[in-house]
């Protein structure tokens, strides 16, 4: 059976596309899938750093598309997680070096070898975005609960629909305290404007900063609410559509405080 090509995109930069790509890729691989993550942010590569594989890069996605090397040479195997591979972006080229035809061919070959091909899309809607979505089967739109991110996500959703791709939504960096105070858009507000299927809610989590800096995926960290949220998202992508959503909440109330004290910390995510 052929694998699925999924792009993770957002329009706006800095909402957590790269972290989400690494986390979802790792979580899917932990569920016994053969996964390759492809960094399409050519010229500004980050995914290799987030996954802790930066010092093992020999060939890049540009080499793989242009036939300088074959896919096996370009795909770097993660040593901690079985069946997780990374095809890194080139840091010295720019986004114009690739054409959509090349990406369609590459994705066609990756589909045969992997169960999931997760593409990290660059910010923006120009050539880099066009190349990244050229051959995808599914799209995940990442959005933070900010007006600017929602606006850009909306634009991206329109562009994806124009390509007959039905996107799903992940809302990242939810701060429950701010939502409760009314200082932040709630996930309902975001879903109301974007009106696409929700795939997951990810709370803001300090562990993510640590994991991006150390190169250890958030899903491998214990007690990371964001990591657990990404694991649930991976389960939903993997076909567990009935998994209920856990809405990030603050740990208030007598029983929760009591439970925290005696060590039964219940994390919302």
């Amino acid at each position: 059976m052929e694998g699925k090509v999924i792009v993770i995109t957002s329009g706006k930069g800095g909402v957590g596309k790269t972290t989400a790509t690494a986390s979802i890729g790792a979580a899917l691989a932990l569920e016994e899938n053969r996964v390759v993550v492809v960094d399409m942010d050519i010229g500004l590569r980050n995914l290799d750093v987030v996954m802790g594989l930066e010092n093992r890069i020999v060939f890049t996605v540009v080499d793989a598309v242009n036939g300088v090397c074959d896919i096996k040479q370009a795909a770097i195997k993660d040593r901690r997680i079985k069946d997780l591979y990374l095809i890194p972006a080139s840091q010295s080229d720019n986004k114009d070096v690739l054409e959509a035809e090349g990406m369609i061919k590459l994705c066609g070959e990756l589909r045969k070898q992997f169960d999931y091909v997760i593409i990290d899309c660059p910010a923006g809607i120009e050539k880099g975005f066009q190349n990244a979505v050229a051959a995808v089967d599914e799209a995940i739109v990442l959005c933070t609960p900010e007006v600017s991110a929602v606006r850009d996500a909306d634009r991206i959703i329109g562009l994806l629909y124009a390509r007959s791709i039905t996107p799903k939504l992940i809302i990242n960096r939810i701060i429950p305290q701010m939502v409760e105070r009314g200082d932040m858009l709630s996930h309902d507000d975001v879903v109301e404007v974007l009106s696409i299927e929700l795939l997951g809610l990810v709370p803001l989590d300090e562990n993510v900063v640590v994991s991006t800096n150390t190169g250890i995926p958030a899903v491998l960290q214990k007690n990371s609410p964001a990591g657990e949220a990404f694991q649930r998202i991976a389960k939903r992508i993997n076909g567990d559509v009935d998994l209920p959503f856990e809405i990030p909440r603050t740990n208030r109330g007598l029983w929760k405080k009591l439970a925290q004290k005696i060590g039964m910390r219940r994390r919302g995510a």
Binding site: V150, D154, R155, S195
Partner: protein, 229 residues
């Protein structure tokens, strides 16, 4: 070779027969001439519409027309005989005919772009005249129209009505929270986005755009009878 001007001449105009007669001739002469002309038409005269043209003749010829009408109806079985009265057209304009509303709308062609769905950020819908959206206009989306804009949903983007210069246009939304509205040459920003969901509309008064609750203002209820926009 020019024909001498005959007292009765006939030509087909549209779906009717146009008969020019010289009313100064006697009724007998005219009948004779009519027979010669209509004989040639054969069955085409049956249920035909006939228009009598008196060719700018002065004076009153009502009895003559009446005679010819009965004559043509009886002999040739025509459907109707009408008088082409140019004077009536030019002079008798004074009392305007009462509008027949049932029939008036039949000839009215719709000039509305009626769409369902969501106008997302970066998308722009441009209507030649009126625009009706069954759905929402998201922040960053644009609805543009030559006439009115009606949004049956949330208007959170930009609405540009009455382009280029129609200051009578309105913008109506069931949830009126646009980032900007323009009507004709007027621009308004800073519309309260925290207001509760109510049907509001924007219109031009003087050089300003005024936003009012639609059901309270109910601006078109004051019109005397229905009008096409």
């Amino acid at each position: 070779m020019k024909d001498e001007k005959r007292p009765v001449r006939l030509k087909g105009v549209g779906d009717s027969l146009w008969v020019s007669i010289d009313p100064t001739q006697s009724i007998e002469t005219l009948k004779q001439e009519l027979i010669t002309v209509f004989q040639r038409l054969g069955h085409l005269t049956i249920q035909a519409k006939v228009v009598l043209d008196l060719e700018d003749a002065d004076g009153n010829y009502d009895s003559l027309i009446l005679d010819i009408r009965t004559f043509l109806k009886e002999t040739y079985n025509v459907a109707s005989v009408l008088e082409n009265d140019k004077k009536a057209k030019t002079e008798k304009k004074a009392p305007p005919p009462l509008p027949d509303w049932d029939k008036k709308w039949k000839s009215k062609k719709s000039d509305v772009l009626f769409i369902a769905g969501r106008i997302r950020s970066g998308q722009r819908i441009n209507a030649r005249r009126h625009l009706v959206v069954l759905g929402d206009v998201n922040p960053g989306g644009e609805a543009m129209a030559g006439g009115d804009i009606i949004v049956l949903g949330s208007l959170k983007g930009k609405a540009v009505a009455g382009q280029p210069n129609n200051h009578d246009a309105i913008i109506l939304a069931l949830d009126f929270k646009p980032t900007q509205v323009q009507i004709g040459m007027n621009v308004a920003v800073g519309i309260d986005t925290d207001a509760p969901q109510t049907a509001e509309f924007a219109r031009v008064e003087g050089d300003n755009i005024i936003v009012e609750e639609y059901m309270q203002a109910n601006p078109f209820a004051k019109l005397h009878w229905p009008q096409a926009r």
